[in-house]
């Protein structure tokens, strides 16, 4: 269970907004975290506290394949991203690096500053501020398995050991 304060963003938050290419000359997590969401909100890193969450509209993470984007968000201490939809590559990347993401069609009901209780297993989200409950879209079965086997890295490890 995650308890998190909300930072609200709109539709089409692309990977250039999440981590601009001018900072992609490194893959150092702490360095990337310093510039998380910089071109969407230059003060985001200063304002956000460890454990806060991002709530956004459609097509979050569109654009580049840079894994640096979910890495920057995770390293900035953000516990979870909830959006109406995610761009495909970002969606995979987030799972692969262990950033919790949930798809929720009703993100318009959530306001900046709300406090959410998020059950990442069931996808149940309780908005403490508004006393509302939402149900996030279920995580696809295969991705559940991937998470349970310890992520893509451990899945690869097992495959190599089996000589598959």
């Amino acid at each position: 269970m995650i308890v998190a304060k909300v930072w609200k963003f709109g539709d089409n938050i692309d990977t250039d907004l999440i981590i601009p290419a001018r900072y992609l000359n490194t893959s150092d997590e702490a360095e990337l975290a310093k510039h998380c969401m910089e071109d969407a909100d230059p003060d985001f890193v200063k304002k956000a506290q460890k454990g806060d969450c991002i709530v956004a509209g459609f097509n979050f993470g569109s654009g580049s394949s840079r894994e640096h984007a979910p890495i920057a968000i995770k390293a900035a201490g953000i516990s979870c991203v909830i959006a109406k939809s995610f761009a495909r590559i970002f969606y995979r990347n987030a799972f692969n690096i262990g950033l919790t993401i949930l798809e929720l069609p009703e993100t318009d009901k959530i306001s900046e500053g709300d406090t959410l209780e998020i059950d990442t297993k069931t996808g149940k989200i309780f908005n403490k501020t508004k006393n509302e409950t939402y149900q996030a879209t279920a995580i696809p079965e295969f991705m559940q398995e991937l998470i349970e086997s310890g992520g893509l890295f451990n899945y690869a490890k097992k495959m190599i050991q089996k000589g598959a």
Partner: protein
């Protein structure tokens, strides 16, 4: 036997199955996996943490194209990680500055892309290679690291959307305008998670360069891949590079599509995508206001190929770049660079007052070689006009084809090429 699209067929073949259906998750053998200097360091860490296993060294490629020639110390260090890995593992498919080009122009040109292949790249524009009737999709570094180590990747079989473009293409209209028109119609998430299949008589008449431009921007509509069935044009391109030994797959006539769109090419004029999304498109004649520009860029994995440079030269011949405007031209590969030089295009560019650079992704992603200042406006042949994409988060990027960009550089404002070439 159930019917399949070309994308389903390629995925089924690589998963060693007779049939795969949309939504199904499969583990498939990958024919080619690659990464660039931005994404490779994380790929390499993934592989090295697994004990340095590489499933098949002949099926991986490393291409330092984004921030090369090294733009700063950090970028140099990223390239060094890549080079050390290549040396250590004796990897053949690697190109140093002087021979390297933009990955999505270099790989087809060097004969790495064939119909029916399954390709993954740690770069979102990997979808370019669908122009050859291959299934190609961009992934993150961990996924590509997985493919390096195991030779496989997992896929959710996508639903397909069919885009039929028939009719005669207008002068100064190319693949760029077709794809911008499509993105303008369906939106930046209009093909989210889906396969975009392009066909019709206007596609059959498109040269390979334009087909690559179209598939390149499938990702800008959220697509998983863009794909065009291989035909005579594809076969001739491959023949010129002495490539044989491939299987051409085609969609079954009654394969399932979640949606079908039809366009008449004769109704499509040069398109311009306004800041800050590729879906904000307008036909050039619909632009009534004067959009003054500070910079014009011709290059990138979208439009840095020889036919793009020829179009630019046609417009720039005996013309000058407007005062206070920078025109930056970057051939996408060394082969294109040499060809342009041989054809005398560089003389035309230099006479016009353009800058010509060695191949690099450079300014497209605000990397180097032409960064925008606050409040500056650029018109670019590249693929994204997001906030801050080409430099300052306070700058503005308009996307267009090479003819519009060249003409705009001459006029100092966004303009229809017919107004420059009367």
């Amino acid at each position: 036997m159930e019917k399949m699209t070309i994308s389903q067929k390629i995925l089924a073949k690589h998963a060693k199955k007779d049939f795969v259906k949309p939504g199904e998750i499969i583990l498939a053998d990958v024919d080619l996996a690659f990464a660039n200097d931005v994404t490779a360091p994380i790929v390499i860490k993934f592989v090295n943490d697994l004990g340095g296993v590489i499933a098949n060294k002949d099926k991986i490629a490393l291409i330092p194209d984004h921030f090369t020639p090294n733009k700063d110390i950090n970028s140099a260090n990223q390239c060094k990680i890549m080079r050390d890995f290549v040396k250590q593992n004796n990897i053949k498919h690697y190109w140093e500055s002087g021979e390297v080009g933009i990955e999505h122009a270099l790989l087809p040109e060097q004969g790495y892309i064939k119909p029916g292949m399954l390709i993954v790249g740690a770069d979102s524009h990997t979808c370019t290679h669908g122009a050859f009737g291959a299934f190609a999709t961009g992934m993150g570094s961990s996924d590509v690291g997985f493919a390096f180590a195991t030779g496989k990747s997992w896929f959710r079989v996508p639903e397909s959307i069919k885009f039929i473009i028939n009719g005669k293409r207008n002068k100064w209209v190319g693949g760029k305008d077709f794809i911008l028109k499509i993105i303008g119609t369906i939106g930046v998430d209009g093909a989210l998670y889906k396969s975009m299949e392009f066909c019709g008589s206007a596609i059959s008449e498109l040269p390979m360069d334009d087909r690559m431009t179209m598939c390149n921007m499938a990702i800008e509509a959220g697509g998983k891949n863009g794909i065009i069935e291989a035909d005579e044009t594809t076969i001739n391109y491959l023949k010129e590079r002495n490539i044989a030994d491939y299987e051409i797959l085609k969609s079954d006539e009654d394969a399932q599509y979640v949606k079908i769109y039809e366009f008449d090419a004769s109704n499509i004029e040069p398109q311009v995508a306004f800041p800050h999304l590729p879906e904000n498109t307008k036909g050039i004649s619909e632009i009534k206001e004067d959009i003054k520009i500070d910079q014009a860029f011709i290059g990138s994995c979208t439009n840095g190929r020889i036919s793009d440079l020829r179009i630019a030269a046609e417009i720039l011949k005996n013309n000058k770049v407007a005062k206070y405007v920078r025109l930056i031209i970057i051939p996408a590969t060394v082969e294109i660079y040499k060809q342009a030089m041989k054809e005398g295009l560089f003389d035309i560019f230099l006479e016009a007052g353009a800058v010509i650079s060695t191949p690099t992704c450079g300014p497209c992603l605000g990397g180097h070689m032409g960064i925008l200042a606050d409040s500056e406006v650029a018109v670019s042949t590249s693929n994204r006009n997001f906030v801050g994409r080409m430099g300052s988060p306070k700058s503005f990027v308009y996307l267009a084809n090479p003819a519009v960009v060249a003409a705009s550089a001459v006029a100092g404002k966004i303009i229809n090429p017919v107004e420059v070439i009367k």
